[in-house]
């Protein structure tokens, strides 16, 4: 019963506006601290890789960006599904707030991966299953945002883009398992693998800090964007006067 009360409270725009405001700072402080320590560890204290030399240091921006692009899409699709099933406007607002963040980090993942691939593989790009499915993810984000902007009516934009987000979720496990299902040039998982991470702690700890930092930064960014989305949708002046 208490769970449903909590769930119904989330559908309330004034409540979510207030909660998002509090969470912004809560995510920002640990996120920025972890990012500074993680990047310092990755760029300065972590030793060079015995095969890849210093070029492996791109992993500290590449892998967390890849993780964030998948996390954002999953969160966006779940929120869109909740919005479609329960007709919850706040859920659609959350999905709309997540899309630009996810798209930007999918782009970081693709470009930083390409910058690593050039000296290591001798090419900027290959039509490898992992790279291609990640590119599809980037286009799904762009498609989601373009579809939203093609409607004047917000509720129709929510429904159409929500359906696209839910259908596109099928690409997320394809990206993750592509390195196991197909013979790819892209290496397998470094952290999430059977038998534990394949990195020594001096390299792994800064990487884990970067994963944590990116996730916190997403939390902070989505809270600010969600507040804007909620404000833009809300027409009731009573609570706006309290918050705006």
């Amino acid at each position: 019963m208490a769970t449903w009360v909590w769930f119904h409270k989330l559908a309330s725009p004034p409540h979510i506006y207030r909660i998002a405001g509090r969470l912004t700072l809560l995510f920002t402080v640990p996120g920025v601290l972890a990012l500074i320590v993680g990047l310092y560890g990755g760029l300065v204290t972590a030793p060079a890789d015995y095969q890849q030399g210093d070029s492996f240091r791109i992993i500290y921006v590449h892998a967390p960006a890849a993780w964030l692009s998948l996390l954002c899409y999953t969160a966006m699709a779940i929120a869109a599904a909740v919005g479609l099933v329960w007709r919850m406007k706040v859920a659609h607002a959350f999905a709309a707030a997540t899309a630009p963040i996810g798209a930007s980090f999918a782009l970081v993942c693709l470009v930083s991966g390409s910058l690593w691939g050039r000296p290591m593989w001798g090419t900027w790009w290959v039509w490898d299953a992992r790279l291609t499915s990640q590119l599809v993810l980037f286009f799904l984000y762009l498609g989601y945002m373009a579809l939203r902007h093609s409607f004047d009516d917000l509720s129709r934009a929510d429904r159409a883009s929500g359906v696209l987000a839910v259908i596109g979720l099928v690409n997320v496990p394809i990206i993750h398992y592509s390195v196991y299902w197909w013979s790819t040039l892209h290496q397998g998982s470094t952290v999430l693998r059977a038998g534990g991470p394949s990195m020594p702690p001096s390299m792994l700890v800064p990487l884990l800090l970067c994963f944590f930092a990116y996730t916190c930064c997403y939390g902070a960014l989505v809270c600010v964007r969600l507040r804007a989305e909620v404000l833009n949708r809300e027409r009731s002046p009573n609570w706006l006067s309290l918050n705006a």
């Binding site: 990047l39 760029l43 300065v44 060079a48 030399g53 210093d54 070029s55 240091r57 791109i58 921006v61 590449h62 960006a65 630009p100 963040i101 930007s104 980090f105 782009l107 970081v108 470009v111 930083s112 910058l115 690593w116 050039r118 000296p119 930064c217 960014l221 600010v224 964007r225 507040r227 804007a228 989305e229 404000l231 833009n232 809300e234 027409r235 002046p237 706006l240 006067s241 705006a244």
Partner: protein, 68 residues
């Protein structure tokens, strides 16, 4: 650490074993994307607050006009 050894460390750090251009481009792009995300989110929120305030003023004015 003397000044000379610091400069030597700094040059090696920037050079990154010959991979400097690839590494710093990747980090520069990431910094740019972070900056864009922060600025665009703040701009979006500020403009939403401004529009909400305008709606409030318009609503208060229309209520004042409706009063006899």
């Amino acid at each position: 650490m003397s000044l000379q050894s610091f400069i030597q460390f700094f040059v090696q750090f920037i050079h990154m074993g010959g991979y400097g251009p690839y590494i710093w481009t990747a980090y520069g792009l990431t910094a740019g994307v972070y900056l864009w995300n922060i600025l665009s989110a703040r701009r979006l929120h500020t403009s939403a607050v401004m529009r909400a305030r305008q709606r409030l003023i318009a609503s208060a004015e229309s209520q004042a006009l409706e009063r006899p």
